[in-house]
Symmetry: C2
Subunit: 412 residues, 2 copies
C-alpha cells in the first residue's frame, strides 16, 4: 500500500455573486467564469451564490462543461422561497448527495443584503477516485455586517456549529474530507476555530507549500471593483473569508501543494469574476500506513477552550434574543390593548353612550398604526422565539459535547 | 466476543398529539403519558407532536423523569414558525444530537390539519450502551389525507427518501440503528418499502417473536375516541402507520423479542393517551462474529425495483407540480393585466379622456379582487416553483442511485 502513487486533485472554490436581479453584470461574469473553468479543467468546482438560471447558466456558458466535468449541480432549493445557491461540478462520477439546511439565517430585517438570499445550507457530494472515498462539502455561511457590533455572531456560530456537526456525523465512512466555501469569518474568528477544532479540518492556506495570489490569501480585497470599499476600510489588504479546508480520516494523508487566488480583474478583462476572489488548491493525496494524529491531547484541550468560548458567545446572543423576544411581545400586547380600547370607544359611541363623536380621520389613522405595529411586533416576536429556541438548542448541544470531552479526554 | 451477554433495550414510541391549542384534552393526556412512562421505565422514549410547553410539559408531569431517564429533549425548532415536535428521553447519556429538516412539507392550503405543524424533520440521537453505539432516529412524516387521490404521495416519497439518505449518511459509524416515528404510511406503501430497502432497516412488528396489542399492529384504530372515524371507514381494523425499525450494522444482531401496542383508552381511564396508539418494543442486542447479510443480491434487485417505482411516482408529482406552477403563474399574470387595465382606465378618466365615470363601488371591488388573486397566485406560484425544484432534485438523486446500483450490483 505504501507504494501507491500520489493522487493529485485540483479544487476550485468561488462565491460567484451570481444572483439574478441583484448582482451586477451577472451574465458577463458567468461567461467569464465558464470560460476560465473550461481552460483550467479543475477536478472539483465548488460554487456559491449561483441563483437564477443556474446551473444551466454556467452550463450554457460552457456547453462542454457537462461533458468535461462529470456534471453535477446541486441547486436543490430549500424551505424558504430561496434556493441554496450551491453548485458543484465534478470530473468524477458523483455517487451520492445530501443537502442540510441551517436552522438560523440572520434577521429578516436585513433583506437588502444579497447573501441573505443564500447562505442557508451545506451540500455534501460523495465521489470515489481510485478507490478513495471523498466527502466534499460546499457551503456559504452568514455575512457579518459590522465587525464592531456583530449582532450576527451568535447566528454564525450556530451555523458553524451545525456545519461542524453535519460534517462529523456524515463523514464517518470517508477517507478524505474537503470543505470549500464562503465562511464569512476571518481565520482567527471563534467560528473558524470551532469548525477546525471540532472537525479536525486543516486550512489549505496555512498548510500550502506554495502560495500565489492576494497578500495573506485575502478573498475580499479593496482593488476588486465590486467590493464595498467602506466595509473594507479597517482592512487595507482585504480579508480572507473564503476557504478550502481538508483532512484525511483513515490511513491517508492530504497535502496542499499549491494554493492560488485570483487578484481582482480577470486576465485581460476590465472586470473580476466576482466580488470575491476564487481560491484554487492543488492537493496531493497519498495512502499511508498510519493516519497522522499528532498531539491529540493538546488539540483536545484547545478544543475544550474554543467550544467554551463559542458557548459563551451563543449565551450572549441568547440573552439578547430573549430581551428582544420580551420587548417585541410587550409591544404587540400594547398595540392590541390600544386596538381594544378603540373598539370599545366605537361600540360605546354606537350604543349612544358617549358624548362627542371622535375625529374620524385621526381615529382611523391611529387604528391603522396600531394594526401595523401589532402585525410587525407579532412577526418579530415569533422570529425571536425561534431564535431563542435555536440558540438554546445549540448551547445545550455544546454543553453536552463539553461534558463528553471532559469526561473522556482521550476519545476524539 | 461470542459469549457476550445479551443487551435488552425497551423502546417506546408515540405520536402524542400534544399540540397546544389544537389537540383535545392535551394537559390531561400528557399527565397520563407521563404517569405511564414513570411506571414502565423504558430505556428510550421517542415522542412526536409534542408542541407547546414541551418537553417541560412532560417533565412537569413527571418530575422524576429527568432523573429516571437520562434527560434529553430535542425540541429544536426549525426554519418555519413551528418547531419539530420531536422529543427524546433516554436512560443513557446522550453523546450527540443532530436535527435534519425535510425540504418539502405539504401544501400550505392544508393548514387546518394539525400535523402540518409538525412533520418537518428527523432527529438523530447518539447513545452508547456497554460500548455499543446506537444511532437513534425519530421522525414524523407527512399525513395522507385521501388515499384514493393522494396528492401528497410525491411529498411523502421525497421525505421518505431524504430520511433514508440522512440515515445512510449519518449511521456509518453506528453499531445499531433504531428508527421510531409516525411515518404516515401503510406497511406495503412504496415509501416504506423504499425506506426499508435503501437503509436495510427491519420492521419490529414483522420480526417480533411475541406480539400483543391491536390486530395487525394497527396504531390508528376506530375504537380510539380521538380518531376521525370517516377517515378510517375503508379500514375497519384501523391502519398501521407508527413504526419501530432497526438494524445492526457491524458485527451485532438485533432481535425483537416482544412488540406491544396500546389499545385505545388508557388502563382504567376514559381517554386514550393520544389519537395514535403507542408502539413498545423489547429488543435484544448481541455481539456476533459476522453480520447477517443474507441474500444480498436479491435484496439489491428488489431495491432497484422499489427505487424505480418511487422515481416514477416522484415524476408524476413533478409533472403535476409543473402544471400547477404554470397555471398559477398564468393566473397571476392575468390578475396583473386586469389591474393595469384598471389603472389605465383611472388615469384616462383623470386626464379627462374617457366619457362616463365608472361605478365606483364595483370598480374598487374588482380592483381588490384582482389584488387578492394576484397575491394568492404569486404565492402559490412561488410554492410550486420550489416544489418543482425539490421533486426534480429528488428524481435526479434517485436516477444517480439507480445508475450506481445497476453498475455495481454487489456493492451495498
Amino acid at each position: 500500500m505504501e507504494g501507491d502513487p500520489t493522487l493529485q486533485l485540483r479544487v476550485f472554490d468561488l462565491n460567484c455573486w451570481a444572483i439574478r436581479y441583484l448582482s451586477k453584470r451577472r451574465q458577463e461574469r458567468i461567461q467569464l467564469i465558464g470560460d476560465m473553468l473550461r481552460q483550467e479543467r479543475f477536478d472539483l468546482v465548488l460554487l456559491q451564490e449561483v441563483r437564477g438560471a443556474k446551473p444551466r447558466a454556467v452550463h450554457g456558458a460552457v456547453p462542454e462543461l457537462c461533458h468535461v466535468l462529470g456534471i453535477c449541480h446541486m441547486e436543490t432549493p430549500v424551505l424558504g422561497v430561496i434556493g441554496s445557491g450551491l453548485c458543484v461540478f465534478s470530473r468524477f462520477t458523483i455517487l451520492d448527495t445530501l443537502l442540510y439546511q441551517y436552522s438560523l439565517n440572520g434577521y429578516p430585517y436585513m433583506l437588502q443584503h444579497g447573501d441573505w438570499f443564500c447562505g442557508k445550507s451545506v451540500g455534501l457530494v460523495i465521489i470515489k477516485i481510485s478507490g478513495i472515498i471523498f466527502n466534499v462539502y460546499v457551503t456559504h455561511l452568514h455575512a457579518e455586517y459590522c465587525r464592531e457590533k456583530d449582532a450576527y455572531l451568535p447566528h454564525r456560530l450556530v451555523q458553524a456549529w451545525e456545519l461542524a456537526q453535519f460534517i462529523r456525523h456524515t463523514s464517518k465512512a470517508a477517507d478524505v474530507v474537503l470543505l470549500g466555501g464562503d465562511l464569512n469569518m476571518h481565520p482567527e474568528d471563534v467560528g473558524i476555530r470551532l469548525l477546525r477544532g471540532w472537525t479536525g479540518l486543516r486550512d489549505a492556506f496555512a498548510e500550502a507549500k506554495h502560495f500565489e495570489g492576494c497578500k495573506d490569501g485575502c478573498t475580499l480585497i479593496p482593488s476588486n471593483c465590486f467590493t464595498i470599499k467602506t466595509e473594507l476600510l479597517p482592512f487595507p489588504l482585504g480579508i480572507r473569508i473564503d476557504y478550502i479546508l481538508y483532512k484525511a480520516i483513515s490511513s491517508f494523508t492530504v497535502k496542499c501543494e499549491e494554493l492560488r487566488t485570483t487578484t481582482g480583474s480577470a486576465p485581460g478583462m476590465d472586470i473580476p469574476f466576482s466580488d470575491h476572489e476564487a481560491v484554487m488548491a492543488t492537493l496531493h493525496i497519498r495512502r499511508q500506513g498510519e493516519a497522522a494524529s499528532a498531539t491529540l491531547s493538546t488539540a483536545e484541550l484547545a478544543l475544550v477552550d474554543v467550544v467554551t468560548e463559542a458557548r459563551t458567545e451563543v449565551g450572549v446572543g441568547l440573552r439578547a434574543a430573549q430581551r428582544q423576544r420580551y420587548s417585541t411581545g410587550r409591544l404587540a400586547v400594547l398595540a392590541l390593548l390600544l386596538l381594544l380600547l378603540q373598539a370599545a370607544a366605537v361600540l360605546g359611541t354606537l350604543a349612544g353612550l358617549g358624548g362627542q363623536p371622535f375625529p374620524k380621520l385621526s381615529f382611523s389613522l391611529l387604528a391603522f398604526l396600531a394594526i401595523g405595529i401589532l402585525l410587525l411586533a407579532t412577526g418579530l416576536h415569533l422570529f425571536h422565539t425561534i431564535e431563542v429556541k435555536m440558540l438554546q438548542g445549540t448551547e445545550e448541544q455544546m454543553r453536552m459535547v463539553l461534558r463528553a470531552l471532559q469526561e473522556r479526554p482521550s476519545d476524539g
